[in-house]
Symmetry: C3
């Protein structure tokens, strides 16, 4: 049995397979409309995320399956103190696959390790959100034909934006992708992303604070939100905020075939006058997210049909119960009787297997 | 593409068509049980309304379709500040039709103008609730055979009751309908309803404060709730409240074939001892609401199939961005970058197109 | 028409029939996958209970039916003050069967008496939860082959645990079942359970405070949670709490074929190291709950098809409107215009028909 917690759980071949299934779904939706007849997805959303939840639900419905679940912790048994592990074991008796959103990092991994059905991470705190990355990849693939040789700009909050780190990681597996990192100084990409991804895979990248200067060179512009709360200096925020807002005027500096992505929801970082420009692809991204979720559900149910063995990590480097993770939003802080899991990393340190924070 | 925001968006012919479809659904429910196979309704309820939400959901299920959605703003992305416009654009990728309840007046219109699928207003603040009116109309039609020549009494809060204004508007299109307006002085029908509807269409109407005196003349009695909060003078409320409560004793003064309607939920304005009287039709109204919603969903999906163009207002009298609406519950107060829309009205003033308040 | 409010609403023959249907569902799930095609269950959960709600929902989906409902009072019309009776009348127009969870004792009975469709009590405060008992019975039946001659231990909070009282009641109808009641002094089984069940049906039982001493004799161990809040003396709680926790070490004292049940959610009263023991049956219980709910839905819809008459109590001993129940969590305290109902009990007292509290 397989589960998808992090985008790196999928090989390049598997991602290419999902992209191919997606193409086929787009061409022949009817062919897929009964593929999951009699199957149920459980959407376990311990915090609200309408877009992601409804994407999974419409994906399953378009495959002919059905849906059970909850949309916030307050309407779940979590308020009675049930562990994530027990919830996963219980839901395994009701459904065929789980999509889980949880504020604690690592919670979907705990569910995958304890339940009897595949788990898809639908976002665990600031940690991973692999199906967002799948949506991004299908959008780039459909709009640009592929990934090799593209120049991809990321603009806004590159420090906290997990979607950015995840898509950069996914792009690192393709050839000659150039990365342009556009952000204020406060929100530059963390050094571990540089070390673990950009440098490790010899990616060509530059860092800049100017969206306008970068725009003409980009094939893909990935926008994210710059939140006031991230700034220590309010004046700095006021000075900078407008430079990271994309409007029609700025977009005119981009190439004719540049595409603009955004993981949504946006607040005002993309002006509404951009929406009608043919380069604006963020609502297409929404549709592509649904289609990739359909492809992923199909893949995981197919594997689960053949291989009913429990999901395991199969990593002989994991050290059990030796370290206690100190990340306050790690699931290991709250989950009852959870065994600690750590993995050695290059610099001699250890990293929590649940939340990927180094000790 | 068509959307239904206000009951006046439907012509008399269309309403008659819906009533005819409803009759056929009642006769042959099986014939309709797969009409929406593969279709999804999104019930976007930014404030709770179980009865209306479940009515739309059961309507879609009885048509063979399925449902996605949320039942309160707290479990939606609205808490992350997403605009109604973006929500509509996103949901257009997931579903085939939207039923939207929103506390802000005009929100469903914003959704209709920006999404790519039909929108049904399931109640926007105190503004419109067209499917309630459709439920009322089907109930009168089924119980009384038609609308012409009826004497229809409205009792209770006629000032704030949007359902009352709406059904009076709908009845104005039929012949020789007499209206009896029964309310305390504080809660009399607003003058604009008199001017815009009763006088404009030459309807025969009287105003009175006595339910008991009016009862013998009525073919239809439409009850609404009198809320204590509406009164400035608490003594006045205490003095009056019982006279607007319908009980078995008072009902005995009505004709044998008078029918009693109520939009529900009731609190105590209709005594429970009335429920078993054959004249009590408020639970039939609930069923009729479901059936009319089925008919409306069918009609809108049918139009959307033939005409995929975006919903527009097509009104060359609309003035854009000239006036700012001051109604605190108008969607134009909160929605990001929304263009102002106003229409000239008879007295030389302008009226907000979103919430219908005059400037 | 029939409704199931209390486990005693089902005769032994009916329970045996449900167990038989359950066996057949397990053997031939496909045979049942379209039995409820076109039918809808309304899950009306006025307080959250994810496990129970999703159990009913997956049960209905596995029968080919569909689901409407709400998962907490805040997303229901209850906040607008609608009575349980009116809710039941309204939902009868939308769905074919109701599963209701409500914090007020007797609320599902009010729904059953007023709606036009069968009602299943999915838990009403501390009063009844009959489908939990059905889950327990199927688990014992599947794991032990039957009920006669078993020694069944109940451990933990036997005072407030409605599931315990209910399963003891159900077991009282079989032959030679021995009961072992294991609890701290504060949480001993109430005397009315002894009088009304254990003594009345001449059951063989012992009371003890030692789990470890009792374990070797048990065929079935039913664990429940011991909550700190139940103790007046905190030191007493600290002294006792560990003795009512089942762990691997203690379980070693049990027989090889003892089975361990728990109604879930557990907090820490069963250690996680017990989960992998083949005697741990509490997750099997979850699956059995779903299957028994399928069987019960089928039975009630089948009866409703043949007998459309309204559900009534048909008990000529009931005295109406004579007594007012003083139980603060009885539905009769809040429901509008509800007629009082009381039944004489053996000792000359009267008992509230809604909540079963003696006056």
């Amino acid at each position: 049995m397989r589960s998808v917690i992090d985008i790196v759980d999928l090989s390049v071949e598997e991602i290419n397979g999902l992209l191919k299934t997606a193409s086929d779904i787009i061409k022949n939706p009817k062919k897929y409309s009964k593929k999951c007849k009699g199957k149920k997805i459980a959407t376990l959303f311990f915090e609200p995320s309408t877009r992601t939840r409804l994407s999974f639900e419409s994906a399953m419905l378009e495959l002919g399956g059905s849906v059970i679940g909850f949309s916030s912790a307050s309407s779940s048994s979590a308020s009675k103190g049930e562990s994530v592990s027990d919830t996963a074991k219980v839901i395994s008796k009701y459904a065929d696959i789980i999509a889980m959103r949880h504020p604690k990092e690592g919670a979907p991994l705990v569910a995958a390790l304890n339940g009897d059905i595949p788990v898809i991470n639908a976002g665990d705190g600031g940690h991973c959100h692999p199906t967002q990355t799948l949506a991004d990849l299908l959008t780039i693939k459909r709009e640009k034909g592929g990934f090799d040789n593209l120049t991809v700009g990321f603009c806004g909050d590159l420090k906290y934006g997990r979607t950015v780190h995840s898509i950069i990681g996914a792009l690192s597996r393709y050839n000659n992708v150039k990365i342009v990192l556009i952000s204020p100084n406060e929100l530059k990409i963390p050094s571990y992303v540089k070390e673990d991804v950009l440098d490790k895979f010899n990616m060509d990248y530059i860092e800049t604070d100017s969206l306008e200067d970068s725009l003409p060179s980009l094939d893909v512009l990935y926008m994210t939100r710059v939140q006031e709360e991230r700034f220590t200096d309010r004046n700095e925020y006021e000075r900078l905020k407008d430079s990271y807002v994309l409007n029609k005027e700025k977009l005119n500096k981009a190439k004719e075939d540049t595409i603009v992505l955004h993981p949504l929801p946006r607040v005002n970082e993309i002006s509404i006058d951009v929406d009608d420009d043919k380069r604006a692809c963020y609502f297409k991204q929404v549709e592509n997210g649904k289609i990739m979720r359909m492809a992923l559900i199909l893949m995981l149910l197919d594997i689960a049909k053949k291989d009913k063995s429990k999901f395991t990590l199969n990593d002989n480097k994991i050290v059990y119960n030796k370290f206690k993770c100190s990340n306050p939003v790690c699931i290991s802080q709250t989950e009852q009787e959870l065994k600690g899991m750590a993995k050695p990393v290059d610099n001699g340190n250890y990293r929590c297997v649940y939340c990927d924070k180094d000790f």
